[in-house]
Symmetry: C2
Subunit: 404 residues, 2 copies
């Protein structure tokens, strides 16, 4: 089994010992245990700050050399603590664990895992700690890091390579029908399908990063999202059971999107493509996109995560120079509320009920986007909590679903 | 050329940029530059503290995994700063640089350097940064660290492998005839032979660690000890010129030794050997040893560095159990003053003059040890500064020597 703990779970020596005890428990239950941990607490942020103090634009190869140390420190400390509890442990860097990536520094993708050394250590009865968030490129023989959500990706990829299940531990005990801080009677979901989890991660659920859910789906890895602080069962993310699923599984929300609206764009074929090529080339994750043509000029809106705003601006300046001037507005006052459910596919009335519920609160819909199993609305950010509560109630998510 | 900077030279971002500028200067003078740096400031101490917070007896393999990160961070940051100055740089871990060691974690010895990757990067015009203090074992495929003075050893070993000279930068501008804080007219020595430097390092000179001087002598590497903060010439450590050397080159002192005195030891053959086997087995660097036999019982005194006191105590307890009881006293109030000089070999009067000088100050000699090019006396620690000043004056070390 692969067990992953995030940075807040190993933030200080006491927590390191607690995590070590979790690994030892699993080993003593007879399991073969591979652990992967993130850097302690705010270590990665501190290393990034150090780099930017030294250099305005840190060289990407050297940035990876720098950042990869955080997870190595955490893994070595956990291994020490496991030894003190009387079990054998061995920590590996990404490259020692055979995690081979492409050579895209700071945002490398895992290509392959050569798990020989991990398997040998497991066969010798050891608990294996693998430094998350990193690998190495065979082309350059350099250390690489995997970017956002990198340690979750490490864990899922290891589970895929080893044919194991993957437990992702965090400070939330699973996936809920809505954020329990907003909806007190939100319910923990025992099982969520890959497709639903993808939509939930993409629309604001923070339990799992989109990227690791994609990896899990592509390799059929069962993922168990559960609490660092208790033994209760969390949520299993796995292949959906097509026979019985609720129409709506959860309400998610996001308050960190910024909406860009472009007006006065020349309405020529290929213009939209050129703009989104530029934005995507800057590694921006564009979410909702809406386009319309008014009086021979195109209007276009799209939302991006807060942290991608500077890159988006830069990319747009480039396309303005190339395509001719157009206007760009930013709206930082919007949020997104989404309904997710695999059963939605066969129930076209869901959208209408969602819009009715929000209209009943006097909430104005700024943008709408849909997928077969999701409906998202951009609304005023201040109205997000009310909207989440109203939708959770309207679809009766606090009640156990009845199989259809 | 190999250039080594210690941890205080890279303690903050501004100092990192300063060191980067030193490397760039050397490169622009047309040199091929290999740099090695220690961990920033107190990083290694902080990592050690973290390890001991997590575990009372940190597992040595994992301790090496942990400690090796400090130098990697420093090297990556220096490489970034060099890029900003317009030169190409690349940082390597010990293993990427081909530094192969034995598998003795926390105190590994360098066996061999396979410098292919370093040479290739140099040929491509890059400044190569090698993380100091570390290597890897081919037997275990694990990261190892080199223990005390490890980064100096890395630098000298790289210089040996590359057939280059080695510059060791620190906050002192070279090797002096005595500590300038005690003797204001102490003189910087332009050249010191390997043999003299070995004795000086062993008897308290802190400019270079004994270990790196030994490595340099064994491989004929010329070492230039000089200042981080100026361009002035420092001191070259190199093969001695047998034709002309001063009788006495320098006065050194040490205030960190502790003297153990053992009394009531059974006077049987092999007893002393057994005691020193045990002490050496605990990796203690025993310096002066004196033995005497009184009424059929042996008495023995020896000095060890402060940091080796706990290990020495533990080793002695073991031998007491094995050999039968004997008494152990510790004296923490002594210091050592030494005269070093390759010319001493042919001038037997040096010791007498030294003893006379110290007697003139009313100083009592507790222990004496000699080598062909060194005389050391243990005296009261409080009397060290007076003794150093008096000896420096008596042997006229403030004056340029006249070739004989």
């Amino acid at each position: 089994m692969v067990m992953k703990f995030g940075g807040s779970s190993v933030a200080d020596p006491e927590k390191v010992r607690h995590v070590a005890a979790r690994f030892v428990d699993a080993r003593r239950r007879g399991l073969k245990v591979v652990g992967t941990v993130s850097a302690m607490g705010k270590t990665t942020d501190q290393l990034l700050a150090l780099a930017s103090d030294v250099s305005p634009t840190p060289h990407p190869r050297e940035l990876d050399m720098l950042l990869s140390t955080g997870e190595r420190i955490a893994c070595a400390l956990v291994a020490m603590a496991i030894h003190d509890l009387g079990e054998e442990a061995i920590s590996f860097t990404g490259s020692q664990a055979g995690i081979i990536t492409d050579a895209a520094y700071t945002r490398a993708k895992i290509r392959e895992i050569r798990a020989d050394r991990v398997l040998k250590a497991l066969d010798a009865g050891k608990i294996v700690l693998v430094a998350g968030f990193q690998g190495f490129s065979r082309d350059t023989m350099d250390v690489t890091t995997l970017g956002r959500g990198g340690t979750d990706a490490t864990a899922v990829a290891l589970a895929a390579a080893l044919g194991a299940a993957c437990e992702i531990y965090s400070d939330v005990p699973g996936v809920f029908t809505a954020d329990p801080r907003i909806v007190p009677d939100a319910r923990k979901l025992p099982i969520v399908s890959y497709e639903e989890m993808l939509e939930m991660s993409a629309s604001g659920a923070k339990v799992l990063m989109l990227r690791s859910v994609e990896l899990a789906r592509n390799h059929g890895v069962r993922v168990h999202a559960r609490s660092t602080f208790s033994d209760e069962e969390g949520t299993w993310i796995q292949e959906g059971d097509d026979m019985e699923h609720p129409i709506v599984s959860a309400v998610t929300h996001s308050e960190t999107d910024v909406v860009f609206t472009l007006t006065g764009i020349p309405d020529r074929p290929g213009v939209a493509a050129r703009i989104f090529d530029a934005v995507a080339g800057a590694q921006v994750n564009v979410d909702t996109i809406i386009q319309n043509v008014v009086h021979g000029k195109a209007e276009m809106s799209f939302s991006v995560p807060n942290e991608d705003v500077p890159a988006t601006r830069a990319a747009l300046v480039g396309t303005q120079e190339e395509l001719g001037s157009f206007d760009v507005e930013e709206n930082h006052d919007l949020g997104k509320v989404s309904l997710i459910g695999a059963g939605m596919r066969s129930h076209p009335g869901v959208a209408a009920k969602m819009f009715r519920t929000l209209a009943g609160l006097g909430i104005n819909l700024q943008m709408i986007s849909t997928s077969p199993i999701k409906i998202s609305c951009m609304i005023a950010r201040t109205e997000i909590p009310d909207a989440v509560r109203a939708l959770h109630g309207a679809f009766e998510l606090e009640r156990e679903p009845i199989a259809e």
